[in-house]
């Protein structure tokens, strides 16, 4: 029987070493070591041996089993390693090829710039409101201290519509009246939106454009606060430390009125065509809300005071993104737009 076992061992070891793949090795293992395998069959005969021979044959049988198991395991490792090596060799690719394209969209710079402006003022408690684009003459002009036949109307070339008393709003400022009519101070409002003017189109003008209006009213907000906030804004958008300038402006709905300049972002003050060689770029108009406007908003002009400002979104976007001609914004050439993320 010992001889029989040794024969089985030698035969199996040879077969394992010759197994061409994992599947045949698996079959060999079952054929020899399985419940109905050949080694098992031999072992079943041990019971019929004389009692004295049993321990010796049993020890041989265990040694044979161990030898077979070790050989199968070794061969399995070898075959696995070969299989992985084959797979790797077969799967090699040119990793320098470009990747599978993922659809790439783009955000339009107008709403994106509005969002950037709102983010800055949002940190100072300003919240967003919107008003209608087809406005009344009353809201667009009269309540803003611009009566009918007032020469200040020359500041806004207006597009009129076939609805009596209505026009296409020339600025976002009528939103001031609408916010005051629905909120009590303290008010910190931001009003973005589309505006219209009777204006020939060129690199810096369009008959449709976007503005963001700001309004802050309570009992103590001063012109110094206006300066402080606008400086924060300029720093946020154009880099901390960018020089700014506060100078008198004129709007019928603010008194005092302000024009707010930043150091030219193109030439940094040296003087270039972009800043008309002044070294400064005007980015917005502002001022302390005129008492008559406060009255039209339903507020006591003696108790309440505050400021308003208005800026052209295209102008800010031009400076942020180094765009020289605002016609690109409404033209929507995708070669222009796809550069925005």
């Amino acid at each position: 029987m010992t001889r029989q076992l040794e024969l089985l061992r030698d035969e199996t070891l040879a077969a394992a070493a010759a197994a061409p793949d994992l599947a045949s090795l698996e079959r060999l293992q079952i054929d020899v070591l399985g419940r109905k395998g050949r080694l098992t069959a031999v072992l079943r005969g041990i019971g019929s041996l004389p009692a004295d021979d049993r321990p010796k044959v049993g020890a041989v049988a265990n040694a044979v089993r161990a030898a077979i198991e070790a050989a199968v395991a070794e061969r399995r490792e070898t075959l696995r390693a070969e299989a992985i090596a084959t797979r790797i060799a077969g799967e090699r690719v040119d990793v320098t090829l470009p990747g599978r394209p993922v659809p790439r969209g783009s955000r339009h710079p107008i709403p994106e710039t509005i969002a950037a402006i709102a983010e800055v003022f949002g940190q100072f408690g300003f919240v967003v409101y919107e008003g209608p684009e087809v406005e009344t003459d009353v809201h667009n002009f009269q309540m803003l201290n611009i009566p009918l036949d007032h020469p200040a109307r020359d500041l806004w070339d207006t597009l009129y519509v076939d609805l009596d008393g209505y026009l296409l709003r020339t600025h976002t400022s009528p939103g001031q009246i609408r916010v005051m009519a629905r909120e009590r101070p303290p008010i910190r409002a931001l009003l973005p939106g589309r505006c219209f003017r009777y204006e020939a189109v060129d690199a810096s003008h369009g008959f449709e454009f976007f503005q963001v209006e700001g309004l802050m009213i309570d009992e103590g907000t001063s012109m110094a606060d206006l300066r402080g906030l606008l400086d924060e804004f300029a720093g946020a958008l154009f880099g901390a430390g960018r020089a700014t300038r506060f100078r008198p402006g004129y709007y019928p709905f603010t008194e005092p009125s302000v024009a707010f300049d930043v150091r030219c972002v193109v030439c940094d003050g040296a003087g270039c065509p972009a800043c008309s060689r002044t070294g400064w770029m005007t980015i917005l108009g502002a001022g302390m809300v005129h008492p008559v406007v406060l009255q039209h908003g339903g507020l006591d002009p003696e108790r309440y005071q505050g400021f308003a400002f208005g800026m052209g979104v295209e102008r800010i976007a031009n400076l942020r993104h180094a765009v020289a001609d605002l016609r690109y914004y409404l033209e929507n050439d995708l070669r222009f737009l796809e550069q925005f993320r």
Binding site: R107, S222, R335
Partner: protein, 832 residues
């Protein structure tokens, strides 16, 4: 306003460089838009002395001048003008010179004589309007000096704001300069040698409308000789942007630029009996104005008339018949004050806005009327000779009381965020001519003027009274005084502080839904566009839907468009009602520029004219055309079609937390392909009774594609989205993932081609009951062994139950119910 600095220097000393002066004026609120070098376009033009002027040897019309330009030689120059004589000094363009307009002067032969340069007329140098004669320079003009040194000037272009009509004048701007530099302002000389008869014997003025003409000052000058103005005057007018006409007319324009007072001069011979009436036009009256237009006069129009009829439209334009001409010998000077609103309306009515009407409509200082008349008479006598009648006609010689504006220094500080003492504030005001007085007792501080004047009573010790100078008609309320104080002190000195006042309550951004839609679609690879709201009327009609997309939380769309009554172009003359025309425009533009594929969206408004006024509604528009994928070896090439747009709609619905959209066929919109268009709606996930999204998605009709020369397809969608105008996303409420195993069954349902997939899915859903948690279509198959006209729709059904494992029997029972319902309701059978 164009301001030649040499002229401004007549009224105030200018010790600053032009750049520094421009900067100071800008910081004072008189923004200098440009600094122009007048004469910078004369190159190599110098003063020459005519040593001899002889006839040209070969021409009777030409002369031959010998000219000394200070370089030690005598140049021979051929000249065609007849006004030259030896001894005169004239501008000489040397060979190589460049004149305005780019004209180059070279040494050239003229009829056998070489001309070594050119003598220049005033017109050639754009210095005067005289193109006939050579410009004769003053006898003391230094020979050889470049002309630009002598007659060049710096012109500031100042943007004077509409509230500062007083600064539309050299004297007004001189006052601003003086406020900065502390220099004194010199008013022009206006004394008149009155050697004629009393003016009453010549001129009578009757005002029928004192409200529209509160003051009329007239003067009379006899014996004028009308001709060109002195060169120096012409140069100044041209530099300031006005064309010289004649000495008399130039005098009135000169005074307008100098003092800001528009003046009109009449040929007195054309004024019947020297009698002037200021009245409204009568029905049917007409007037030929200076521009030789015959104008039918509206009864609102204020006229200067004589007993026979209209002479001029008051404050706007004179009449041709009474225009001062070379034949004029007696002149009436009109220096009047008119109602600003009336002038503005009239100027608009006749589309005749002029330098004069611009100044009248901003209001005029009352006292300018006599000063303007006197100064004009002074200049006419100096330039055109003549004798001035004694005295003036003045219909309202009373000077108005100065405007007193009590203000509180503490309130000024509160507004500006400053801490200036009352004395400092008074000192600043004094620099712009605003005198101050102590307040005696209680005063009424004007806080607001206008419809509802609002005064606050202040005790004398807390207030100061500002006395506005008569030219400052813009000063009326306390805030105006605050602005003057800030302006004169310098806005730059208002420090920047961060507000420490109370914060408003939290408010959600109304842009939340719009932002979520943008994020979803940009993430899906679309480019956001922003297009014009104003479109062409043809496009509006061409892209009109028979059944517009209804609104959800906006007002319903209105079909009547809003039209612009004064459009810049008919291409942009009506407000759009859908996003289709502008989106199609963007697609076409990009395809034509060689883009292989376009995938865009816009969030914008439609506009309509409702019975109660304008209506605006928000919409989301999507447009897809051309290549759906970028060129890549890793992606199959394909073009956009309806399914892409539907997928995007589903994507948006999912991003906003809405239920899956349901599509129904739409075959009845002429804009769209009748077989490839769907109406759609998606309900709220939280409330199946409420819609989150409705709209239309489809491919443009093939006939339209042909007309637009789009080769493949154009897919368009327009959606109304809940909260697009004002809304935000609620955080989703979520369930734990199932802890017990889920069971999946795949069913292939064979139905007729005409049965919509949506009905099959609906039948499965309603018959399966609550255990069915998910239903996904994963395959559509046509062909053998199916019959012609059949298709197989393969669905994966996913089941699970809360808190227990489903039994095989339960699932089989549901599948049996589904199978039965499919057979009954859509004639479907299972394919095994």
């Amino acid at each position: 306003m164009r301001v030649p600095l040499s002229w401004l220097a007549d009224y105030v000393d200018l010790d600053l460089t032009p750049e520094a002066l421009a900067d100071r004026l800008t910081l004072l609120g008189m923004e200098v838009k440009a600094i122009e070098r007048w004469g910078s376009d004369w190159r190599s033009v110098v003063v020459g002395e005519l040593v001899a002027v002889d006839p040209h040897p070969n021409s009777e019309r030409l002369s031959l001048a010998r000219v000394n330009v200070g370089d030690g030689t005598l140049r021979e120059i051929v000249c065609g003008a007849t006004n030259i004589a030896a001894g005169q000094r004239v501008p000489v363009a040397l060979p190589g010179a460049v004149l305005p307009g780019g004209r180059r002067i070279e040494r050239a032969e003229k009829l056998g004589v070489v001309s070594d340069g050119m003598l220049c007329s005033g017109d050639e140098l754009r210095l005067t309007t005289d193109a006939e004669g050579i410009l004769i320079l003053p006898a003391d003009a230094p020979v050889g000096r470049p002309l630009a040194d002598l007659f060049g000037d710096v012109v500031l272009d100042v943007d004077v704001k509409p509230n500062r009509g007083d600064a539309l004048s050299l004297v007004g701007l001189a006052r601003e300069v003086a406020a900065v530099t502390g220099a004194r302002v010199r008013l022009p000389r206006a004394e008149v040698a009155e050697e004629g008869p009393p003016v009453e014997e010549r001129l009578r003025v009757e005002i029928e409308e004192p409200g529209l003409c509160p003051r009329f000052v007239g003067r009379w000058v006899d014996g004028v000789r009308v001709g060109p103005s002195p060169d120096r005057v012409q140069m100044r007018l041209l530099a300031a942007g006005m064309r010289p006409v004649s000495n008399v007319v130039d005098a009135s324009n000169y005074v307008m630029l100098e003092l800001g007072k528009p003046i009109h001069t009449f040929d007195a011979a054309a004024v019947e009996g020297g009698r002037i009436v200021v009245r409204r036009a009568r029905p049917g009256e007409t007037l030929e104005t200076l521009d030789h237009e015959e104008r039918i006069l509206d009864p609102e129009t204020l006229l200067i008339a004589d007993p026979r009829g209209p002479l001029a439209i008051a404050g706007v334009m004179g009449g041709a018949a009474s225009e001062v001409s070379e034949a004029t010998s007696s002149v009436i000077i009109e220096s009047a004050i008119f109602d600003p609103v009336s002038i503005r309306r009239t100027a608009f009515r006749y589309a005749l806005r002029s330098e004069a009407s611009l100044r009248f409509e901003k209001g005029q200082e009352f006292g300018l009327a006599p000063l303007g008349a006197d100064r004009t008479a002074h200049l006419i006598v100096a330039w055109a000779g003549g004798t001035v009648a004694r005295g003036r006609v003045d219909t309202n010689p009373r000077e108005p009381e100065p405007v007193r504006i009590p203000f509180r220094p503490a309130r000024v500080n509160r507004l500006l965020g400053t801490a200036l003492s009352g004395a400092e504030q008074r000192e600043l005001l004094a620099r712009v001519g605003v005198e101050t007085e102590p307040a005696r007792g209680e005063v009424r501080v004007p806080v607001a003027r206008g419809e509802r004047p609002h005064d606050v009573v202040a005790a004398g010790e807390e207030a100061i009274v500002a006395v506005a100078p008569p030219w400052r008609r813009d000063l009326a309320i306390e805030a105006d005084i605050a602005e003057e104080i800030a302006r004169i002190r310098g806005y730059e000195r208002i420090g920047g502080t961060r507000p420490d006042t109370p914060m408003p309550a939290y408010r959600r951004s109304p842009l939340g839904v719009r932002d979520a839609v943008r994020t979803a679609l940009v993430g899906a690879g679309l480019a956001e566009v922003v297009t014009h709201a104003l479109v062409a009327p043809e496009d509006l009609e061409a892209y009109r839907l028979r059944r517009p997309v209804p609104s959800l939380d906006d007002p319903e769309p209105v079909a009547t468009p809003i039209r612009v009554t004064n459009p810049l172009s008919s291409l942009h003359s009506v407000l759009r009602q859908t996003l289709f025309p502008s989106l199609t425009g963007v697609v076409l533009l990009n395809l034509r520029r060689g883009r292989p594929g376009v995938a865009i969206f816009e969030i914008g408004k439609g506009y309509g004219r409702g019975p109660e006024g304008p209506v605006e509604w928000w919409r989301l528009g999507i447009a897809l055309a051309g290549a759906a994928t970028p060129p890549s070896p890793l992606l199959p090439r394909r073009n956009f079609d309806l399914d892409d747009a539907k997928g995007l709609v589903e994507h948006v619905a999912a991003a906003l937390g809405f239920a899956e959209p349901r599509f129904t066929a739409e075959a009845d919109e002429p804009l769209f392909h009748p077989g490839r268009t769907a109406r759609l709606e998606a309900r709220l996930a939280t409330d199946a009774a409420a819609l989150g999204l409705v709209g239309i998605v489809g491919e443009l009709h093939p006939a339209r594609l042909e007309a637009l020369e789009i080769r493949d397809r154009l897919v368009l969608a327009e959606l109304a989205v809940r909260g697009l105008g004002e809304g935000w996303l609620e955080p989703p409420k979520v369930a734990a993932p199932p802890r017990h195993p889920t069971v999946e069954r795949d069913l292939a349902v064979v139905v007729g081609e005409t049965v919509p997939a949506a009905r099959v899915a609906e039948t499965i859903r309603s018959s399966a009951g609550p255990l069915l948690r998910r239903l996904q279509l994963f395959d559509v198959y046509r062909g053998a062994p199916l019959d012609e006209g059949e298709r197989s729709l393969a669905y994966r059904l996913t089941f699970w139950a809360e808190g227990r494992t489903l039994t095989e029997e339960e699932v089989e029972a549901v599948v049996a119910a589904v199978t039965g319902a499919l057979e009954r309701e859509v004639g479907g059978r299972l394919r095994s």
